[in-house]
Symmetry: C2
Subunit: 249 residues, 2 copies
Amino acid sequence: MLELYHAEPVANSMKALLCLKEKGLEFVSHYVDLLRFEQHQPAFVAINPNGQVPVLVHDGAIITESTVINEYLEDVFPRVRLRPRNPAHVAQMRIWSKFVDEYFCPALSMIGWHMMVRKVAQSLSKDELDEVLARIPLKEQRDKWATVAAESFTQAQLDDSKRKVGVSIERLEQLLQRSDWIAGPEYSLADVNSYSMVASVPRFFPEFMNDKLTPRAVDWLQRMNARPAVQAAQAMPNKVPGVLRTFGG
Amino acid sequence: MLELYHAEPVANSMKALLCLKEKGLEFVSHYVDLLRFEQHQPAFVAINPNGQVPVLVHDGAIITESTVINEYLEDVFPRVRLRPRNPAHVAQMRIWSKFVDEYFCPALSMIGWHMMVRKVAQSLSKDELDEVLARIPLKEQRDKWATVAAESFTQAQLDDSKRKVGVSIERLEQLLQRSDWIAGPEYSLADVNSYSMVASVPRFFPEFMNDKLTPRAVDWLQRMNARPAVQAAQAMPNKVPGVLRTFGG
């Protein structure tokens, strides 16, 4: 049996949901409500001690980290192929996915935390916040919550993250000038892993991604949006109230 | 033809060297002298625009990022197997390698930069430093050079990196209490990718890694040191003068 613990279809949850949908795999969906802090509850921490979504459970094996989950799905369910045939393109797929994980996603994430999670953190009383903080397993996550509950990130930090979003889109455009998909001529996990990060950029940072400056990236996003798997993943539950929705919400 | 551009057998260069040696692959070695800033020279930047080692060149295909290089070697030269048979163990191998790249290695790296690269940066005149900085392709690398040339990292940053080294060794010990190798019963890229990071910890941070506190990690390191491939990789050229050697030097 295949089960996915996930939040709304954005960010890292979207990566795993989109991979499952592309492969046409049946799975049991467990919605983890991040705004109710279900990811820090004992029942969930027993599954992933880091208290983070998504988590894949396959016949008892617990797989964390969305990028790793998607390679696992490819290893175990290769019928719908999402890893290129050419090993050099597979390497390109992994280099790009690593760049998304280490550079693009953290930059977007900081801005998302500043815009959205801060509203949640600041709506809590001191006692409620302390209770939330006490349950967060990872120090780095605790620090982020404490930061947005207080004065948030500095303007210099936010500016640097914005700059990194620009650099990321520039690199995406360069890759897409060489081939139709990010890792070469074949659609791959590089595309799957990028969709949720890129999707909201034209709305939030139109100066970085538009018809004039990045025609190939804009075209890629249109082709992605037209994919039935993307639409199926977007149709998954989303309990985030409109006022709190930022990227992809 | 297989070629590796690499520095001395420590850190990320060691990861790729060890993988090649484990697989018994012949390759042309190109030593890139980091202390002479050869990684920022036009000839090298033409190969890797990021100006970083190691880089694998295989029949014209250029592969960067040591973790990706090692998966590529596994994809193309699977005879000596370094990916476990069980896909859940492969996922564990990738989760751990990702943790090394995103958490353990950056923490060690900051301390290494503070201890070693700072000496190099501070030995340069202002003009020499400006010349070096002007040639570094990645802003993040330029910023690190500028930081160690000036007042270096703050004590709080260094303390936090030291804490992360401790957390990393604690996690390593936990994994090795469950199985002989990091990703399960089979020796894998998780072990290959960790060796250069773990090797110097008992000497630099004996409080985190010792017979009493982390017997399994100590035993793992002994088993690693005894491997012919580790010894062959360690015998590769090292032009770093003794006074500058820190981790693994």
